[in-house]
């Protein structure tokens, strides 16, 4: 081994350590930024180390690639609005997975025939995970951006076709593993994996996006880790595994927050079949005027806002912060109760509210806010539906039975901000809306909140 190679390996070790420190910093908002600087330093060291130590002979592709990538990346970092964070994240899962898949194909072209059994096995994993994550994430990004119809796409025998595709993909990988010179099997595996990625994500509805995002996150990471096995590179294994496990932990948390199993999310096609058992929640929805709502809020002791995806679509995060500040000036205690699966990705609501300058000490997790609700005078639900649906708790026949909810119905009164009288994207009826303590404020969340703020000022 030459001196430059030792140098390269040293930068990889440093990068691995810094990455772990960076994730450790993520345990608190105050240390998180410093942690990320460490990770950036580690990444930079690893790149410089590679450029010095990896016997680079052709610089053109590298320089152009780094330049183009940096320009697009910087453009994304600066211009992507916080409301578009879910689709941006899905897109970056696709990019990361594509890079892993391409490195795999390149390795196959260059050293395919001389690979040992273990490397070939790892290569198979890398190609399968990389390709299916690429197309799957692109579909997810398309759904989130609204380019692709967001409702689950389902057809008869879907699960059988998906399972069949999966088995063909794995079968081809196995064939390639036994026959290293089976070039056709290799490329067929690649193609089938691309198709499988599409099939995997199209039946999944918008409400399940947090789980899917986390799963794709996990796959993208594991694809990188598999790349590490193919190249015999430890820093890739470490970084990829960290990413993979992070995504895995998040998807388990998201599933728990919906009281559903992973298989149910992936193969259940939630939102397409609506059981009749939920339709018995009839009654009258009581509408409330802006002035009455403002009065209730202004004279409350404690107000809890519960945001959902509707907050993001209406871009109402700034409006709610203004209202919250006005209420706080009047001496009202204002809190935000955030359900783990509110929004389209883990932590979506927190980021939006932080963007609007809501201090993180006002943001409460579900388990922290629930004991507060009986003492709460007004709970304001903004564009959320399933996460406050009392059916999940009370009706064992409900499709979302057992899903932990934010129990706004325990508050003294509830104001629901909603665009219209229709059901939410899950299609479930929500008995909360018919409770005597609940009143509805129809209209676009942003304008409702802005008008509420004006009305509160005049109280």
């Amino acid at each position: 081994m030459s001196l430059t190679s030792y140098f390269m390996e040293a930068t990889y070790l440093i990068a691995s350590i810094l990455f772990i420190f960076a994730l450790k910093g993520m345990s608190h908002p105050e240390t998180a930024r410093r942690g990320m600087f460490l990770a950036e330093g580690g990444m930079f060291a690893a790149i410089v180390g590679t450029l010095i130590g990896a016997h680079i002979v052709t610089w053109v592709w590298i320089i152009v690639g780094l330049l183009v990538g940096s320009i697009i990346g910087a453009w994304m970092a600066i211009w992507v609005p916080m409301t578009a964070m879910p689709q941006r994240t899905a897109l970056s899962h696709a990019f990361g997975a594509l890079a892993a898949a391409l490195v795999g194909i390149g390795e196959f072209i260059a050293h395919g025939t001389e690979m040992g059994g273990v490397t070939r096995g790892a290569l198979g994993f890398e190609i399968m995970l990389g390709s299916l994550t690429t197309t799957g994430s692109l579909i997810a990004a398309g759904k989130l951006q609204g380019i692709i119809y967001g409702k689950p796409v389902q057809f008869r025998g879907q699960n059988i076709i998906n399972l069949g595709t999966f088995l063909i993909m794995v079968g081809l990988a196995g064939f390639f593993w036994i026959h290293p010179d089976a070039v056709i099997a290799f490329y067929s595996m690649l193609g089938v994996a691309f198709v499988f990625g599409v099939l995997l994500v199209i039946p999944i509805g918008s409400a399940d996006m947090p789980v899917v995002m986390s799963l794709l996150n996990s796959y993208a990471g594991l694809a990188s880790a598999a790349t590490g096995f193919v190249l015999g590179n430890n820093v890739l294994i470490i970084a990829g595994t960290l990413d993979g496990f992070s995504g895995f932990i998040l998807s388990v948390l998201m599933c728990k927050a919906m009281n559903r199993s992973m298989t149910n999310v992936l193969f259940g096609g939630f939102g397409a079949v609506i059981a009749e058992s939920t339709s018995n929640a009839g009654g009258v929805m009581r509408e409330i005027s802006l002035d009455d709502a403002a009065m209730q809020l202004a004279f409350a002791n404690q107000v809890v806002f519960v945001p959902g995806y509707g907050l993001a679509t209406a871009q109402a995060q700034h409006a709610v912060r203004e209202l919250a500040e006005l209420l706080e000036e009047r001496g009202v205690t204002v809190r935000f109760g955030i359900h783990p699966v509110a929004g389209r990705m883990p932590g979506h609501m927190n980021v939006l509210l932080a963007e609007a300058n809501v201090p993180y000490s006002s943001l409460y997790e579900m388990d922290q806010i629930n004991p507060e609700l009986p003492q709460t005078d007004v709970a304001v639900v903004i564009g959320a539906n399933d996460v406050v649906n009392p059916d999940a708790r009370d009706n064992p026949k409900s499709l979302i039975a057992g899903m932990p909810i934010i129990e706004v119905d325990r508050a003294k009164s509830v104001i629901v901000l909603k665009r219209g009288q229709g059901r939410g994207f899950s299609g479930l009826e929500n008995p909360l809306f018919f409770k005597p303590c609940t009143s509805m404020l129809y209209g676009d969340a942003k304008s409702s909140l802005t008008h509420l703020a004006q009305a509160v000022q005049h109280v």
């Binding site: 990889y12 990068a15 990455f19 994730l23 993520m26 345990s27 908002p29 998180a32 930024r33 990320m36 990444m43 790149i47 680079i56 592709w61 590298i62 152009v64 690639g65 780094l66 183009v68 990538g69 697009i72 990346g73 453009w75 970092a77 964070m85 970056s92 990019f95 990361g96 594509l98 890079a99 892993a100 391409l102 490195v103 072209i109 260059a110 273990v118 490397t119 990471g221 990188s224 790349t227 190249l231 890739l236 294994i237 470490i238 970084a239 990829g240 595994t241 960290l242 990413d243 496990f245 932990i249 998040l250 955030i338 932590g347 980021v351 932080a354 300058n357 993180y360 006002s362 997790e365």
Partner: protein, 103 residues
Amino acid sequence: MNPAVLIASVYVFALAAFLGYQVISRVPPLLHTPLMSATNAISGISLIGSLVLAGSKGYTMPAHILGFVAVTTATVNVVGGFGLTDRMLKMFKSRNAKKEETK
């Protein structure tokens, strides 16, 4: 890959998984979006594999071109991922920090 290297790699994988579990379960839900963005940027480390493919000796032209695309997408993730994570984390302010700012 010889058996000794394989075993070492499996060790690295298992330890990283264990460490990842320990570290990441301590991340509060508050920071789950930045966490996803950050781990994404970190797994952009596959950039180093792409660099080798795009420019190292012993690789043919088709491999170089695949490497070029991989370098581009991985760089987008690294630059965009770290940039966005920092932009997000900057927004998370405690009540005190916010008050100081308005003063």
